[in-house]
C-alpha cells in the first residue's frame, strides 16, 4: 500500500500526466453515463434537420441523416473505451503467458516462443486485421479480439526480459529452495515484480487500440452504422467535408485528445514506476 502511495506521489509530479488522467476519468464518466447525459437518441433520424451546423438545440450539429452529433459522440466514447480496455486486456493476458513461459523455462521453449513473436511482428498488423475482419463478420467483438490477438508481442517481450533477470534474483532462488513449485514462483514471486513495464505498455496499447478501432470504423470495417463510433462519424464527415466541417472536426478532436491523454498517462507511469528511482524516496 505504501508503495502505491509513492507511485501516486511521483505520478502526480508530472503535470501533463495528471491532466491526461483527469481527461481519461472524464471520458470514462461520460461513457458510463451516456444514456443520461446524451441529449438525443444517437440513432434517431430527423429529416428536417439534416447537416445543420452547431446551434443551441444541437451543440455539435447534426449529420447527413439529421442525427445529433454530440449524442453520437457520447455513445461512441463507449466503443472507444470498450475496445481500448478489452483489446489490451486480451493482449496483456496472451503476452504475460507467452513471455512468462519463455522467460521462466528458457532454452528451447524460449527460442520457439520468441521466434513466434518475431513472426507475428513481421506481419503488418493493420492489414492482418483488415484481412481477418474481411473474412469474419465486422463487429465490435471481432475488433476487440483481433486487436488483442495481434497486439500482445510487446508485452511478451517485456515480461520475458523481466523474467530473465528475476530468475537470477536471490528471493526467487530462496523460494525455490523452500520448495515453491513453478506456478507459485511465476505468479507469486516473479509476475508481481514484472508488472510495472506491462502497465506502461498497456496504457500506450490502449491509445493504439483506440486509433486502430477508429481507423477500422472509418473504413467501414469496424462498428457498423447506425451504431455510432468516432470512426464512422468521421466517415460521414469525409463525405460531407465541404459543407459540414463539424462532422470531421469534433470526432477528430475526440480521438486526438483521448489518444494523447492515454499517452501522457503512459509517460507519467513510466517515470513513476521506474524501480531505479524507488529506493531514494521510500
Amino acid at each position: 500500500m505504501r508503495l502505491l502511495g509513492v507511485i501516486a506521489k511521483r505520478f502526480s509530479r508530472n503535470r501533463l500526466s495528471v491532466i491526461g488522467a483527469a481527461t481519461v476519468l472524464c471520458l470514462i464518466t461520460i461513457s458510463l453515463l451516456a444514456p443520461f447525459i446524451a441529449p438525443y437518441d444517437p440513432t434517431t433520424i430527423d429529416v428536417h434537420n439534416v447537416l445543420s451546423p452547431p446551434d443551441k438545440s444541437h451543440p455539435l450539429g447534426t449529420d447527413e441523416l439529421g442525427r445529433d452529433v454530440l449524442s453520437r459522440m457520447i455513445w461512441g466514447s463507449r466503443v472507444s473505451l470498450k475496445v481500448g480496455f478489452v483489446a489490451v486486456g486480451i493482449a496483456i493476458l496472451i503476452g504475460i503467458i507467452i513471455g512468462a513461459m519463455a522467460g521462466f523455462y528458457g532454452g528451447k521453449a524460449d527460442a520457439v516462443l520468441m521466434r513466434f513473436v518475431d513472426i507475428m511482428l513481421a506481419f503488418p498488423t493493420f492489414f492482418l486485421i483488415l484481412a481477418v475482419i474481411a473474412i469474419l463478420e465486422p463487429s465490435i467483438f471481432t475488433i476487440m479480439m483481433v486487436i488483442g490477438i495481434t497486439g500482445w508481442m510487446d508485452v511478451a517481450r517485456l515480461v520475458r526480459a523481466e523474467f530473465l533477470t528475476l530468475k537470477e534474483r536471490d528471493f526467487v532462488t530462496a523460494a525455490r529452495a523452500l520448495g515453491a513449485n513453478d506456478l507459485r514462483l511465476i505468479f507469486r514471486h516473479m509476475l508481481p515484480n514484472a508488472l510495472s513495464p506491462v502497465f506502461v505498455a498497456a496504457t500506450f496499447g490502449i491509445a493504439g487500440a483506440i486509433l486502430t478501432e477508429s481507423g477500422l470504423s472509418f473504413l467501414g470495417l469496424g462498428v457498423q452504422p447506425p451504431n455510432p463510433s468516432w470512426g464512422n462519424i468521421l466517415t460521414s464527415g469525409k463525405d460531407n467535408i465541404e459543407v459540414a466541417w463539424w462532422l470531421s472536426v469534433y470526432p477528430g478532436l475526440a480521438i486526438l485528445i483521448t489518444v494523447l491523454s492515454y499517452n501522457l498517462i503512459g509517460e507519467g507511469l513510466r517515470d513513476a514506476l521506474d524501480p531505479r528511482l524507488w529506493d531514494m524516496e521510500i
Binding site: 536471490d170 532462488t173 530462496a174 529452495a177 520448495g179 515484480n193
Partner: protein
Amino acid sequence: MALLKVQSLKKHFPVKKAFGETAQWLKAVDGIDFSVDENKVFVLVGESGCGKSTVARLVLRLITPTSGRVLFDGKDIFGLDGDSLKAFRKSVQIVFQDPFASLNPRKTVFDTISEPLKIHRITEKKNMKDACAELLKKVGLGTDIMNRYPHEFSGGQRQRICIARALAVNPKIIVADEPLSALDVSIQAQIINLLQDLRKETKIAFLFISHDLKVVHYFSDTVAVMYLGKILEHAKTEDLFMEPLHPYTILLLSSAPKVKTEAFSVQRSAFSDKKLQTPNSERQPDIGEVPSPIHIPSGCPFHPRCPKRFEPCDKIIPELKEAKGRLISCHLWNPY
C-alpha cells in the same frame, strides 16, 4: 553418520562462443569432497570466484552437477522427486549474502515468513500469525513488523528476516552463502551470535560459506579452504588457526586487515581475541590475482601465486592427502 556428504562433485559451465559453440569450460567446482555432520558447522572459505557459491547451489539442488554426488541422509539428492524432493526442501535451507536481494520487495514480512509454512502445510491458517511471531522472536525481531515491507528495514534486520524464513521449515541444515559479508562489522557480530545461539537451541547444522576466515573462527568446527574449484586444505578449525599449513591458507589468514585488540571492543564479538592474530604475523606478500577458472594453471592451481613453490609445483597436480592430522593438497607436505 554424516548428514550431508559431497562426493567428487564437479560443475563445469560451458563458455559459449558465437553461434553457440562451446569453446571452453569454466571449472567452477572441480572435484571436491566433504561432509557435514549433524549439529556441526562446516566452513568453506576462499576468495571470490573460487566456486564456493556454486557448491551452495549444488548442495541445494538448484543446479545439477557435471559429475559427482551429493548425499543427504544417505540419499543422492539429484535422484529425488515428488514427496522425497519436498522433504529434502524442508530439510535444507539457504541464507544468502545480499539481504537486499533475497527478500521479495512486494511481500510483507508476514507473507515472506509464512510462505514456507504454507508450502509445506506446517501450520494451520488460523495459527499462522502466532507461528510467524514465534519465528520473529527467535531471530530477535519484534512481532509488530509483520505488515511491513523489506525496504523499511536495515541490512541486519533483513538478514534476520531471511534467517527466520529459513528456520520456518525447521531444517536440519542451513546453507549460509556469505551471510555476513554485506553487513556492517558490528552487525556481523550480532548475526553470528544469533546463528551461534540458534545452533545451540535447535541442533541445526550449517554449511557456512565465507571469504573471511576470521569471522567464522568461533562458529565453525571444520574448515575447508577452496581455491579455483578445489579444496586445498581441510582441517579442524582449531588446527587450522593454530597452524595453517597450506601456503594459500597462510596467505588468506595474513591478508585480512588487523585491528588492534584493545581498540576493538564490540561486545561478545568473535573478533576480540588474541588467538585471532595470525601466527605468522608478518604479512605474506601476495603475488598477483586469482587466475581465471577458465584457464586453470597447470600443476598445483595455486603455484603462480605461491611464495613457496618449487620444482614440481607447475607440473604435477598435488592430491588432497592426509598430513599432520588433516587433509592437504600441497607438495610441501605430501611427497609427490
